[in-house]
């Protein structure tokens, strides 16, 4: 039989061990719930060429995130398939949080207009947005068109010779200008739509007077507007753009029902389906903090972009809403791929 002292020691030892085990079990449990992320560089795939507005957005976010996360965030451009190749690559990567993709509004249209679209829209984890680009419709400065009404009239007068530039079936210009034309009873297939590879080329074409109209982001048109080569006639937004106070909004131009989707041409972040919660939360926080960070906001202003935060849920809802909208539009405009 043990002495009292020994028994006490044993009990004390058992209690301490039990406590230690409980705490460490709790500690382990905590660790299992939120592993350290990231522990190596994160890649953001940009399915567009370097230097474009989406690319710039990605780089801004990547630079901000690198600082906050302590790990490099690399932007990798994977161009091709009007943006679908990069989507496919990113969405088929392992959902470990180390491969993300930057996407634009047009992703919601791709499955509808691309023959053999290589990815599925729903199979993704939406994370959020931090930036968007205001979309303008511009005309050559040599043109007599001053308002949307003038443009529509020009198109109505001679639809067969109305030339406009867009980046193909997945271009925002295709839908924006296409919609303006179709709402006024003009069949876009009767007009001369010229497809260019990249909106920068579209803007150049307008600047050179090769086409009568095109759409462009704030960043893309600034150079040409300043050079006096093109003139914006309307901004697809809810409020007028601070740099162009004389340019009316789409509602002011007479189209209050214009689809809201194009008023926020976002640079959105998504990942493959099944992304762990802690990854999504981490990035959502980064995006939100970025939109409130004064340095980031200043950068956005200088890059002619607007700052706006959407969280994962809001982003997904808007994505699906846009998809439904595109289903309608594609039918109205007659540009389905199938």
């Amino acid at each position: 039989m043990m002495s009292h002292k020994r028994t006490l020691k044993l009990v004390a030892w058992l209690c301490v061990s039990a406590l230690v085990l409980t705490f460490s079990a709790a500690g382990c449990g905590q660790q299992a719930k939120t592993p350290k992320y990231p522990t190596k560089p994160v890649q953001i795939i940009v399915p567009y060429p370097p230097g474009g507005t989406s690319d710039i957005g990605a780089r801004m976010i990547a630079a901000y995130a690198s600082e906050k996360l302590g790990q490099p965030v690399q932007v990798v451009n994977k161009v091709g398939g009007a943006g679908s190749i990069g989507q496919k690559e990113a969405l088929s990567a392992p959902p470990d949080g180390y491969t993300l993709v930057l996407e634009s509004v047009m992703v919601a249209a791709m499955p509808l207009v691309l023959p053999d679209c290589p990815f599925e829209l729903e199979k993704r984890t939406t994370i959020g947005i931090a930036l968007y680009d205001p979309v303008f419709v511009i005309v050559p400065s040599t043109s007599n068109v001053k308002t949307v009404a003038d443009l529509v009239e020009q198109a109505k007068r001679d639809p067969q010779n109305f030339r406009w530039a867009a980046t193909g079936a997945t271009g925002v210009g295709t839908f924006v200008i296409g919609l303006l034309l179709s709402k006024n009873g003009i069949d876009i297939h009767q007009t001369k739509m010229v497809a260019f590879q990249g909106s920068a080329h579209c803007v150049t074409a307008a600047a050179g007077g090769q086409v009568d109209a095109t759409a462009g982001m704030a960043a893309e048109i600034k150079g040409m507007v300043d050079a006096g080569k093109v003139r914006p006639i309307v901004v697809i937004a809810e409020k007028r753009h601070p740099a162009y106070p004389d340019v009316p909004t789409i509602a002011e131009a007479g189209y209050p029902d214009f689809p809201k989707a194009f008023t926020i041409y976002y640079n959105g972040l998504s990942g493959p389906a099944g992304l762990p919660d802690y990854v999504v939360k981490t990035w959502a926080k980064i995006l939100k903090d970025a939109t409130e960070d004064p340095k980031f906001r200043k950068q956005a202003e200088e890059a002619n972009k607007m700052v706006l935060y959407w969280g994962p849920e809001e982003f997904r809802q808007n994505l699906m809403k846009n998809h439904e909208m595109f289903k309608e539009l594609v039918k109205t405009l007659g540009i389905s791929a199938k």
Binding site: P41, P72, Q74, P115, H189, K192, M193
Partner: protein, 174 residues
């Protein structure tokens, strides 16, 4: 072994013609995808493929007219002493045997590519350089080893670490 003397150009033209035909056949269904005011994605490939076929046929005609389907047999040349350096390996081999080395090198590169995905770029480089040095006639195993180690290590640090080129890592993690 008449096929050894077959005029390579004739083979090349025939292959080109076949390639042209394949592209032409594949181009035809593309015509249905034409949009408005557009000739569609099928026209240019078809034109190019047709032009290829025409050129190839012309080539075959030229060869046929001069009856050069088969080239006269090439005598086996003795060792050509053009080597100005010390190690004139290969001297004494028939040209045909030397040509096989091209095939070996190509196979080695293919193995390198496959190996890079399994073993990782760095280890695969080690193996490849070792093999290739031998193939090119290097003799000293010490030097070969040094060169392959050197290349593997250098490329790892300069490209994978320094320039962050995402070369394939292998089972060992690098």
């Amino acid at each position: 072994m008449w096929w050894r003397r077959l005029n390579g150009e004739a083979v090349a033209e025939a292959v080109a013609m076949a390639v042209g035909a394949v592209f032409a056949i594949l181009a035809v269904p593309l015509f249905s995808k034409a949009a408005h005011h557009d000739v569609g994605p099928g026209l240019f490939p078809l034109l190019a493929a047709a032009a290829v076929i025409v050129c190839a046929v012309l080539g075959l005609v030229v060869i046929g007219l001069s009856r050069r389907w088969l080239l006269p047999g090439r005598p086996v040349t003795p060792a050509s002493g053009t080597a100005t350096g010390a190690e004139a390996t290969g001297a004494g081999e028939a040209p045909a045997t030397r040509e096989v080395r091209v095939l070996w090198l190509a196979v080695a590169v293919a193995a390198y590519i496959v190996g890079a995905q399994w073993l990782g770029f760095t280890l695969a480089t080690l193996g490849f350089v070792t093999f290739a040095c031998r193939l090119f006639g290097a003799r000293s195993w010490v030097r070969i080893g040094a060169v392959s180690m050197g290349v593997a290590v250098l490329t790892y640090f300069v490209f994978v670490r320094g320039l962050e080129v995402a070369l394939p890592p292998g089972i060992l993690g690098f």
